[in-house]
């Protein structure tokens, strides 16, 4: 790896991340690092109850505490978090910034204190006395559908937020014709996004009445609009800045109550107000992931041909709707058939309110649930029918020549060669040897299993993304991208694209993002969308700027436009390489004496919406052993073949896969946000909620196939969620393969040692 590349080789090169020297040496600037003279600090008192009426709040003592500038309760303000209607008929209960009359999840803010120091604010918040009248709580979404279940949101007298159906073909006929029907109930564990930087906000009222807010966010423009709506404050007078952002995984997409409260308090007090979450705050109020339960049936012919699929998804939305809470079940539905030709599909989603933390996108956001569901079904079908698990997949894959392929759920996959990816994974894993190893281990009485998953990874989407390319007066290039980075390496990858396509060194390109005052309207970074959407916008903006530059170059060199060809650092006349103009010369003309009939300036902005998503895919293979004595697991082999189309920076793609797999292994083995019978939070700290550590990662074997995306200017597809999509079902299939000799059909993740030991023991006892 090296940073010195000729521009021509930049796309596809493992250029070291230009962000890292700053971040890795502690010189980054995160929101909490933003020092604002005269700043005050916000602290919140949160509900300890999952569901309760608030009978009284006494703030007298808190108001008299040292340094306290402001104390607020829900009675003092009418500020709500906006929730868009995503599904017609969807129920939208109130989402107040401070609870009004009742709380519906533990952690809901009940009162706010602003004080001169953070410690004063926390102490004063703790001095507020609140009396609650606890109400029955419901935490499990399937239980919330039972007739006598407590109502999580009494304002709407039902626990169902929405019911949605996605169907295609003739499912009844398919099931009537089937030789075999596989039925399963599969639940994905609720996970907590563990961004290394907790959320934070710093709000500063400006002398002219404007508001500047630094936020640890993935979507500065979208959050700005929601903040404006929430505060009833004009959007164009708000500047949102996302400085360095320490991860998000989806959790930093929406507007949070604390952001709007900090902003409100700053405007009210005419002083800057800061709020920084603790890890405990984030456990209770950051949108959590997964928690979808699928009841599914897969109809097949005896030869393994898949005929039809029925899925009923019960999705736990938590108590309050954030802007993107309703989204993941939609995603789950649309990709339910996975990478298989299943022409008859019926998917029903019941999205349910419970007295838990709101859910929302978490690295995968419906994809991992969907892949888990279909991949477990397919494995069980293979086992039931006595067909090899590779063969059943190959038999049903959408064929390369069928693309673009419209699924029964109505989405169109752009391109793919699923068998090629699977073949590559089989080859890289030395699959036959893994099977032999497994069989030998079994002969020794060990529990060993081989798992396979094949999957699609939709990326992009969520409307548009913007990109602007500006050639400055001296020929240096500034890019303004709506695709705001929170650690992915945009500044490196986008600079690689610009440098190659404009034939300059990367040091001549600056990537600017994360500031609504600097950047045109944009969307942000989530859903594996940045290379696809931000990169697509950028590629088109480069084309437009280059077109104009070429025309200027033709004028400057007094040559006809057809004779102007790209050259290192600018343009030249075809066949006369010494006749050349640089970007600097072109820019001088653009901002100086322009040819007649041409507008001045050298900046182009593109709002890119390809009206379709990019469908990456992959195949993962694992060998897992389980210690029969303790239930502990060990990954002996994990092979990950991913196809994300054209690769701009292989090192960064590998990093995305490593990170996604780490979180996928967290889901498979460790992570589970749990609530007790009465709705109490059981796993609200890192002492009892387990996350993967760098030292617990197994050796990963990565492979790739490259199937360019025909509908993207760069040929790219997303890869950010490939690891969380493909790895958990691969592990699940391996663990279930290991337990198959005991007659165990399915158990849900996470596969903790005590859980596996308990099922192994009861299976062994049952056999005796």
């Amino acid at each position: 790896m090296t940073t010195q590349h000729a521009p021509a080789g930049l796309i596809g090169a493992s250029v070291l991340r230009v962000e890292d020297p700053v971040l890795a040496t502690g010189r980054g600037c995160y929101v909490d690092d933003v020092q604002l003279p005269g700043a005050l600090y916000l602290a919140l008192l949160r509900s300890p109850y999952p569901h309760a009426k608030i009978t009284s709040i006494n703030t007298d003592a808190a108001r008299k505490m040292p340094g306290v500038e402001l104390v607020l309760t829900g009675a003092d303000i009418d500020i709500n978090i906006p929730s868009p209607v995503m599904i017609p008929g969807q129920k939208i209960p109130p989402h107040p910034a401070l609870a009004r009359g009742a709380v519906h999840a533990a952690g809901a803010p009940v009162a706010a204190v602003v004080a001169q120091t953070r410690a004063q604010a926390v102490d004063a918040a703790n001095a507020i006395e609140v009396e609650y009248d606890p109400l029955p709580a419901v935490v499990n979404a399937e239980k919330a559908l039972e007739p006598d279940a407590p109502i999580a949101r009494e304002e709407i007298d039902t626990n169902i937020c929405y019911r949605a159906v996605n169907k295609g073909g003739d499912v009844d006929k398919a099931f009537a014709e089937a030789d075999h029907i596989v039925k399963m109930h599969i639940a994905s564990p609720r996970q907590v996004a563990m961004a290394i930087e907790p959320r934070a906000a710093a709000a500063r009222p400006e002398p002219n009445g404007d508001l500047t807010v630094w936020l640890s966010t993935q979507s500065p423009h979208r959050v700005r609009a929601d903040l404006a709506t929430s505060l009833k404050f004009p959007e164009h007078r708000i500047r949102v800045i996302a400085p360095d952002v320490g991860g998000g995984f989806g959790s930093k997409g929406p507007l949070y109550r604390e952001y709007t409260l900090a902003s409100y308090c700053a405007l009210k007090l005419r002083r800057p107000v800061k709020w920084t979450a603790t890890r405990s705050d984030d456990f209770l109020t950051v949108i959590q992931g997964r928690d979808q339960a699928m009841t599914s049936e897969l109809a097949l012919k005896r030869d393994g041909t898949m005929l039809g699929l029925k899925v009923r998804v019960v999705a736990n939305l938590g108590a309050y709707l954030c802007s993107n809470t309703a989204g993941p079940p939609q995603r789950m539905m649309a990709m339910a058939p996975g990478c298989y030709q299943i022409r008859n599909v019926f998917v029903e989603v019941l999205a349910v309110f419970t007295n838990t933390v709101s859910t929302g996108p978490y690295r995968g956001a419906g994809r991992p649930e969907s892949v888990l569901n279909i991949e477990r079904l397919v494995d069980k079908a293979a086992r039931d029918l006595g067909i090899d698990r590779l063969e059943i997949r190959r038999k049903n894959f959408i064929r390369p020549e069928q693309f673009p392929y419209k699924t029964a759920t109505g989405v169109e996959y752009d391109s793919g060669d699923y068998e090629k990816a699977l073949d590559e994974a089989v080859k890289l894993s030395d699959y036959d040897r893994l099977i032999r190893e497994r069989d030998e281990a079994r002969k020794r009485g060990e529990l060993a299993g081989v798992g396979v998953s094949t999957f699609v990874e939709p990326s992009g989407g969520a409307g548009f993304e913007s990109g602007a390319v500006r050639v400055e007066r001296t020929g240096e290039i500034t890019v303004l991208t709506g695709s705001s980075s929170h650690g992915q390496g945009h500044e490196t990858v986008f600079a690689q694209v610009v440098a190659e396509k404009m034939r300059v060194g990367m040091e001549h390109v600056a990537i600017r993002h994360g500031d609504t005052m600097a950047v045109q309207q944009g969307v942000g970074t989530f859903g594996s969308r940045s290379a696809v959407m931000g990169g697509g916008a950028l590629a088109l903006a480069i084309e437009k700027v280059s077109d104009k530059a070429r025309r200027i170059a033709a004028h400057l060199m007094e040559a006809s436009l057809e004779d102007i060809v790209p050259a290192e650092g600018g343009f030249a006349v075809a066949g006369v390489p010494e006749k050349k103009v640089t970007w600097r010369q072109i820019a001088a003309a653009a901002y100086g004496r322009m040819p007649k009939g041409m507008d001045p300036g050298l900046q182009e902005t593109v709002f890119f919406d390809p009206k379709r998503e990019a469908w990456g895919f992959g195949a993962h293979v694992a060998l897992v052993k389980i210690d029969r004595d303790t239930g502990e697991t060990r990954i002996e082999k994990l092979v990950l073949v991913d196809d994300c189309g054209v690769i701009i920076n292989p090192m960064i793609v590998e990093g995305q896969i490593h990170g996604g797999v780490a979180q996928g292994l967290g889901e498979a083995f460790l992570e589970h946000m749990q609530y007790g019978e009465e709705g109490e939070v059981l796993t609200g700290t890192l002492v009892n909620y387990a996350v993967p550590h760098a030292t617990s990662m197994p050796t990963l074997t990565l492979g790739e196939t490259v199937t360019p995306n025909p509908f993207n200017p760069l040929g790219v597809k997303g890869v950010g969620e490939a690891g969380t999509n493909g790895a958990p079902p691969c592990i699940a299939n391996a663990v279930m393969d290991a337990l198959a000799p005991l007659g165990i059909d399915h158990i849900d993740m996470p596969y903790t040692a005590p859980k596996l030991w308990a099922v192994i023991r009861s299976a062994e006892r049952g056999k005796k």
Partner: protein, 297 residues
Amino acid sequence: MFPASFGYVAARSVDEALELLAKHGEDAKLLAGGHSLIPAMKLRLASPQTLIDIGTVQGLRGVRVDSDALTIGALTVHADIAHSDLVRQRVPALAAAAGVIGDVQVRNRGTIGGSCAHADPAADFPVVLTALNASFVAVSSSGKRTIAVDDFFVDFYTTALGQNEILTEIRVPLPPSDAGTAYHKLANPASGYVVVSSGALVRRDGSGKCIDARVAIGGLGGKPFRPAATEAALRGKSLTPEAIADAAAKAADGSDPDDEIYASADYKRHVATVLTRRALAQASGFKIETSHPQNQR
């Protein structure tokens, strides 16, 4: 989370720390490495009015051989014990236990004295030190006394140390040349704390018979659990894998652990037998199957 406000004083000597302790009384807490106390304060599970920092006291850090025992200063950090050649060669179980505490940061800051005085039932040192028959040197204004390990750990977060005493040294008898030691742990993947752990000290004669076995198990109660039936079953027996397995099968007899979110009581009792079997086998000189260290950090 933030602690309640508190005062802080740094002691330069054990005597000064004792004076400060007398002065501030029951509202004061001694601070060593701070890796148990500070998190408890941040969660407001502990709210001392004054912290007396003894981390600043000289001469309480390090491992040395003192006639027939390892003498370990109370301020010796876990990493120093894990990496000490002396400990690794003479008392491998102690190095093994020190090396699996928490994570790297905890091992570099946490102290053996702090861990023992805190007496967390899910800590590693109390278990291994019980197996090794360690003793504890406590100093107060009225002098010095030595407390045997079986008397030292009393219950959850409770030791025999008095309010006016400071733990200064831990003494671990050097196992005789015919002895082996081992420590095996199943860690909670979230906290790194003990779900169950087992430490063993086994002495055998030239014919392979067990002269003595001392076993301590963590995770089964408020203090390290001595499985009397296991120890008794081994004494005088030939240390065959079968004999070890039979003895280890009794390891949880008489224990009454609680169900927890992560692990049931049944699981803990079972794993106690597994880890005790492994620890006894290793301490008896058998090569044992390595468990699955995926969560080691």
